[in-house]
Amino acid sequence: MDRKVVVPGDLLSDDAKRSGEGTFVKDGRVYSLLYGLANYRDKINVIPLAGKYIPAPGDNVIGVVKDITFSNWIVDINSPYDGLLHISEFPKRIESEEMSKYLRIGSSIMTRVKDVDPTMKVELTLNDRKLGLIKTGQVVEISHTRVPRLIGKGGSMISMLKKEVNCNIFVGQNGRIWINGGAEDMDLALRTITLIEKEAHTNGLTDRIVDFLKKEKGTRS
């Protein structure tokens, strides 16, 4: 894979059509917007090495309820913008007075971004079987820029990880990850995720993670 560290303003290509994420076009040339890794495929994308999570519709995220208003739960989604979970987006019909019975301040939820408007009002939903309150397991936080690497191409990394460590894993695009399983399995999953985060920008990562898991499992049995 052809990758290179770039800084904002670096010239990436003379072909304006190759402008991808993290780039901009000026006078028919493509320049980098970010400090990160440039990926030269059909399109040139620049993957940032740091930055805050900016919600986009359809993202699965893990949030923590931080306030309750008349008809909304205000949810911290590890972003400059708070999420709003409206009472009608709860899978069951509930009354306004009973909101804190279902989700209290401090509750962690797996949720999805339903819509984001131009003023960055973020609407969340719980209307899916996969989504809901987190009752067991644990949540770890990594940089959201490492999430694509944790998921892998077409989900290859995450499905391998789920199978190998025998855990249920829910990856939030905001960098929060829920793991549920046996105590030892969870510990291994945790260490693997930390390793992936640390080495997210290196090549051939999936193979190295497979080796790491094999070795870890070998010492355990």
Binding site: P8, F24, L34, P48, G51, M120, E199
Partner: protein
């Protein structure tokens, strides 16, 4: 003893400046990226005797709320000199000078930041001068630009900053303290690598020809500093890569 009479000081000795530089030579520049763990982006810079640290936080929620802009992020820049940064203790806290420098420095960086990407938020830049030796605003801008990149904030380009001055009727690059205090002019500029100037101030007097010469010289200095900024950012990544290879070797 510092001779206070202007005529007594010789700024040049055998064609070289008091610190041994040529007229068009920068002081040594050292840049370190990501020095603060709690900041989203940070940078430490040494430009000659200047020691400056910059921290970037954000984009994050705006407090107080009334400063919020619905369509874009606001940028706040705080330039501050530590009380121990100069020979005579500086009274701590903002003063007229640091308010002005905060404003012009913010305006030198704002044009390249894509504020429209983050409506209703703020990008905070804090610049602390730990040791001053003339040209702290330029050092602060250089550090802030690197810290902004390190924080992953989208920018159209980097910004580099450098000053030119006039001492003993000669145009010099990057004046140090003696030249700044007893010189005839000081002209700090900031620009992006393609030569678009975002900051220009002048103190003292220059003729038209001298001015052109000084701007040319400062722009060349900015280009050299840009290369150092770029190198520092690229090297931070190579450092990250090193431990990965160690792991590989163990297996």
């Amino acid at each position: 003893m510092i001779a206070m009479d202007e005529n007594d000081i010789s700024f040049f000795k055998d064609g070289l400046r008091l610190d041994g530089r040529r007229a068009d030579q920068l002081r040594p520049v050292k840049i370190e990226v990501g020095v603060l763990a709690r900041a989203d982006g940070s940078c430490y810079i040494e430009m000659g005797g200047n020691k400056v640290i910059a921290a970037v936080y954000g984009p994050r929620e705006v407090h107080p709320r009334h400063l919020q802009e619905v369509t874009r992020a606001i940028v706040r820049y705080r330039y501050n000199m530590a009380s121990f940064s100069v020979e005579e203790r500086k009274r701590p806290g903002p003063d007229r000078r640091s308010y002005e420098l905060s404003k012009v420095s913010r305006e030198s960086l704002e044009p390249v930041i894509l504020t429209s990407y983050f409506p209703r938020s703020v990008i905070d830049v804090f610049v602390e001068v730990l040791q001053a030796d003339a040209g702290t605003r330029t050092a602060g801008i250089n550090a802030a630009a690197v810290a902004l990149a390190d924080a992953g904030i989208p920018m159209k380009s980097m910004i580099s900053s450098c000053a030119a001055g006039k001492v003993a009727d000669t145009i010099v690059l990057d004046p140090m303290k003696e030249e700044d205090n007893f010189g005839q002019a000081d002209l700090p500029i900031a620009m992006n690598p393609s030569g678009e100037i975002t900051l220009m101030q002048m103190d003292g007097g220059l003729s038209r020809e001298e001015f052109h010469q000084a701007v040319e010289m400062a722009m060349k200095g900015c280009r050299d500093i840009y290369e150092i900024q770029r190198k520092a950012l690229v090297e931070k990544y190579s450092q990250l890569e090193a431990p990965a290879e160690e792991v590989k070797a163990c297996e």
